[in-house]
C-alpha cells in the first residue's frame, strides 16, 4: 500500500499544537453524542447520522475496550521487542519517532459492528451501525520497527501485547497477526487526526492494520514479539473466529471449523435520508462505504427492494483502505411506504449481500442497509 511520508517538522507541529488542531477539527453539529454501550470498560458507538465526514472527529469516534486499561505513563513507557529478532530491547517513544514517520487514512470497524442485527440474537456488546469510523493515523511502519530489531525470516506471526491485562482468570486480550500483512501495511500510530492519540484509542501507541477488522488494531501496545507460531489463548482460539463455510443461522461451529477474522467485508450504510418525502421532489441520500479491499468500485441505491438499482456518486476524497462517502439524488415517483437500501461493490468485485452470513459471535455484519421513508403525494 502507499504511505504518505510526512516530514518531522510538520508532524511535530500537528502533534503539539492543540489550538491549531482544534481549529482544523470539524465543528460538531448540535445534539452530538455517543451511545454508551458499556460504562466500564468503556464501549461507545457513534450515532450513524453523525458519520457524514470523510474524517471522523476523535471525540465522536467509537470506543471499544475489552478491559479497563492501565494507561502507561508516556515518560516511563517502553516498547519491548523480543522473540524472533537478532536484537531484543526496548524503545522509548522519542526513539520510535526517529524512524521515518508515515500518515495514512483508514477506516476502523469493530469486528462486532452490527452484532445486534443478527437473528438469532447473540451475547456480547449489541453494536448497531456506529462501531466504525475513518481517521488519519500517524506513526511509524511496523516493518521499520521490526527491521530495526533484526527480525528473522523464521518469524511468521507478530504477537502483540497491550497494557490492558485483566485481573484473575479473565483471559487477556493477546493477539497475533500474520507477518505478511503487518509488514506490508501495519503502522504503529501515536497520533490520530493530527492530535496525540487519545487514551481511549490506545495512547501512547496502537497498531493500525488497514483493511482488517478492529480486533487486530491493538491499543496501549507495550510489546511486540515476532514468532514462528500464532498466539494462543481465548481471543485467538475461541474469540474472533469466523466460519470457514457458511452454516444455517443458529448453528454452533467448532473452533476448528473457523479461522481468525481478518479482512473487513464490503459494506455501505445510509447516514442521511428523509423520514418523510413528497413524490416528485428530489432528496439527497448520503452514506459511506468501505471494504477489506483498498477501494470501493460503486455504490447502488434501490427503492424497490433491490429490483432495480441506481448508481450513487462517489466522493473524490479517498486513500487506500479509507471509506468512500457517497451521495445520491433520489426522487420518489409515487406516494406510499418506500424502503431505500444501499449496496456496495469493491474493486475486487465483492458485492454487499442482502443478508450477512450468520456466525455465532456476530462478526462482520454487512447486510444491505434499509431505511424506511413515508412518501406522500
Amino acid at each position: 500500500m502507499r504511505f504518505d511520508e510526512i516530514d518531522r517538522r510538520r508532524f511535530l507541529l500537528l502533534a503539539t499544537a492543540p489550538l491549531l488542531a482544534a481549529q482544523k477539527a470539524v465543528v460538531p453539529h448540535a445534539r452530538e453524542s455517543l451511545f454508551q454501550m458499556n460504562g466500564y470498560a468503556v464501549n461507545a458507538e457513534t450515532p450513524l447520522e453523525l458519520l457524514t465526514d470523510y474524517v471522523t472527529p476523535n471525540e465522536l469516534f467509537f470506543v471499544r475496550s475489552h478491559w479497563i486499561p492501565r494507561t502507561p505513563d508516556p515518560k516511563k513507557w517502553r516498547l519491548t521487542i523480543d522473540g524472533e529478532v537478532d536484537r531484543t530491547g526496548q524503545l522509548t517513544l522519542s526513539e520510535l519517532k526517529k524512524l521515518p514517520l508515515v500518515e495514512i487514512t483508514s477506516v476502523l470497524q469493530c469486528a462486532g459492528n452490527g452484532r445486534s442485527l443478527y437473528s438469532p440474537t447473540l451475547p456480547g456488546v449489541q453494536w448497531r451501525y456506529g462501531a466504525v469510523g475513518n481517521a488519519r493515523w500517524s506513526g511509524v511502519r511496523v516493518r521499520d520497527v521490526l527491521e530495526h530489531a533484526g527480525v528473522r525470516p523464521t518469524a511468521k506471526h507478530l504477537h502483540v501485547f497491550g497494557s490492558d491485562d485483566p485481573p484473575g482468570k479473565v483471559p487477556p486480550f493477546h493477539r497475533s497477526i500474520e507477518m505478511e500483512k503487518v509488514m506490508a501495511d501495519g503502522v504503529l500510530a501515536f497520533a490520530m487526526n493530527g492530535e496525540p492519540l487519545p487514551v481511549a484509542h490506545g495512547a501512547p501507541l496502537r497498531l493500525v492494520v488497514p483493511g482488517w477488522a478492529g480486533d487486530h488494531w491493538m491499543k496501549w501496545v507495550v510489546r511486540l514479539a515476532p514468532q514462528a507460531e500464532p498466539q494462543k489463548g481465548f481471543y485467538m482460539d475461541t474469540g474472533y473466529r469466523y466460519p470457514l463455510a457458511p452454516g444455517a443461522p443458529g448453528v454452533a461451529f467448532k473452533p476448528e471449523e473457523m479461522s481468525p477474522v481478518t479482512e473487513l467485508f464490503v459494506k455501505s450504510n445510509i447516514t442521511t435520508a428523509p423520514k418523510k418525502a413528497k413524490a416528485g421532489h428530489a432528496y439527497d441520500i448520503r452514506g459511506f462505504a468501505f471494504s477489506g479491499a483498498p477501494d470501493i468500485a460503486k455504490v447502488e441505491i434501490s427503492d424497490d427492494d433491490g429490483a432495480t438499482w441506481q448508481e450513487a456518486k462517489l466522493d473524490p476524497r479517498h486513500d487506500p483502505y479509507a471509506w468512500r462517502l457517497w451521495s445520491h439524488r433520489w426522487t420518489p415517483s409515487r406516494a406510499g411506504a418506500s424502503r431505500l437500501c444501499a449496496r456496495a461493490t469493491d474493486i475486487r468485485g465483492s458485492v454487499q449481500p442482502r443478508e450477512a452470513t450468520w456466525n455465532q459471535s456476530g462478526y462482520l455484519h454487512n447486510s444491505w442497509h434499509f431505511v424506511d421513508v413515508e412518501v406522500t403525494s
Binding site: 481549529q23 465543528v27 448540535a30 455517543l34 451511545f35 460504562g39 471525540e59 456488546v125 449489541q126 479473565v170
Partner: protein, 118 residues
C-alpha cells in the same frame, strides 16, 4: 511589530472561538461517557447479579442483551470460569433474573453521553 501583534491577537481570538464553539455544541446535560450507568430492574436475584457482575462491568452490558435461558446459563458459566464470584446455589436465581428481564423481547435504549472535555 504592532501589526504582527494585532494579527496574532485576531488569530488567537479565532482559534479560541473555534475551540469554544466546539465545546458548546454538546448538550451539557448529557452525562460524560463512562460516568453514569444503566440501572437494573428490581426483582429477586438483582442483588446477586449486582454483586457478581458489577466488579468487572456496568449494568449496561446486561440490559442490552436478548438471550434465552440456555444462552444466559452459558454466559453465567463463562463468567464464573473467568472469575466472577458467586455461590453455586445462587446460580439458578441469577439465571432466572437475567432470563426474565433480558430475554428475547428485551428492548434496549443506550445512554446518550458526551465525550470528556467537550
Amino acid at each position: 511589530m504592532k501589526r504582527v501583534l494585532v494579527i496574532a491577537l485576531v488569530l488567537a481570538a479565532a482559534l479560541a472561538s473555534a475551540a469554544t464553539k466546539k465545546k458548546a455544541s454538546y448538550d451539557p446535560k448529557l452525562p460524560i461517557l463512562g460516568t453514569k450507568f444503566q440501572s437494573l430492574p428490581t426483582g429477586e436475584g438483582k442483588d446477586i447479579v449486582e454483586a457478581s457482575c458489577f466488579p468487572c462491568h456496568a449494568a449496561d452490558m446486561l440490559v442490552q442483551q436478548r438471550l434465552t435461558e440456555k444462552q444466559w446459563t452459558a454466559e453465567v458459566d463463562k463468567m464464573v470460569r473467568w472469575g466472577a464470584v458467586m455461590k453455586e446455589s445462587d446460580k439458578p436465581a441469577m439465571v432466572a433474573y437475567l432470563s426474565k428481564n433480558f430475554g428475547l423481547s428485551n428492548k434496549f435504549t443506550p445512554l446518550r453521553t458526551r465525550p470528556a472535555g467537550y
